[in-house]
Symmetry: C2
Subunit: 148 residues, 2 copies
DNA sequence: TCCATATAAATGCAAATGCATCAATATGGA
DNA sequence: TCCATATTGATGCATTTGCATTTATATGGA
């Protein structure tokens, strides 16, 4: 059940995706940490919840949005809740489910993270690509995760 | 010391880099695991060592190649050595250092991983982009980690 | 209605990661 | 030569991740 070997260009793209991600990710995480702020994943989750307001999101929706593993998301929410940034409440449509909403202080911390995060993105990506290159890159990357 | 806000295209590229990487990575890791093979990082390290033969590599060289954190690499090597895939020996040029070489069974496992890995790359990337798109993607990604 | 199966979310336990720090050797002046 | 500083690599400890499984509820037939 083996497909033909992927072309070199494909293998190279994959390998570079790994490296580029590692480099950019570590830049961003390091800057957030140095500023005494929570990690990246917190920002992403909070942003999604803020966008989804006011009804909030079900965990499985957030999970699909973030492409996070279910058990990881479950624990990420634990931490966000413990920090007071997210509120869990029982879902009314589904007895198994919950509904997540961002709290006031969740909004506040997200806002506080943004300048540091934005700077880090600028350093990791903005300073290295033109705007049109960034657009091209984003378009190609999105093809790697939209349903095949 | 805050730069101007990064353009939307840059932010989008960053966000998509995260998601694309998560999607592709989890595809690849899942397939390797399902096949009862070691994780991705083992492959990458073994490949670098195989390419570097016969002198092998110093850990810090491998580290730079893989963009791995020093302590992570140190432990990755522990595991590779424990599995018998890599040999550590004292460096002759530098009393602090080591030299890493791939063993016969390291080569064997890498070879055994390749078909599964290649298939996974094909699924995660190859099936979604043309060859020339993959080239463009790879070129742009490499800009994100070569020394700024 | 009942049951088999699917889906939502949590969790126990093992493994990997991150952070800070350490020990050992190298190096480059004064 | 000596010492301050840098570099190589390992490690203790806390946190996070991954895997497998579990609990609870939903759903769609027979």
């Amino acid at each position: 059940m083996s497909s033909p070997a992927p072309p070199d260009a494909v293998i190279r793209a994959w390998a570079r995706l790994e490296r580029a991600h590692r480099a950019a990710q570590s830049t961003v995480e390091a800057r957030l940490r140095k500023a005494g702020l929570p990690p990246l994943a917190w920002y992403d989750a909070l942003l999604e919840l803020e966008r989804a307001d006011p009804a909030g999101l079900r965990p499985f929706e957030l999970q699909k949005e973030m492409l996070f593993a279910q058990y990881n998301l479950s624990r990420l929410i634990d931490r966000l809740e413990a920090a007071g940034y997210v509120a869990r409440s029982a879902s009314e449509e589904d007895g198994r489910g919950q509904r997540l909403t961002i709290t006031k202080s969740g909004r506040a911390i997200r806002r506080r993270m943004w300048p540091v995060y934005a700077d880090a993105i600028a350093a990791a990506v903005g300073s290295r690509l033109s705007e049109s290159e960034a657009t091209t890159l984003g378009d190609l990357l999105s093809r790697l995760y939209v349903r095949a």
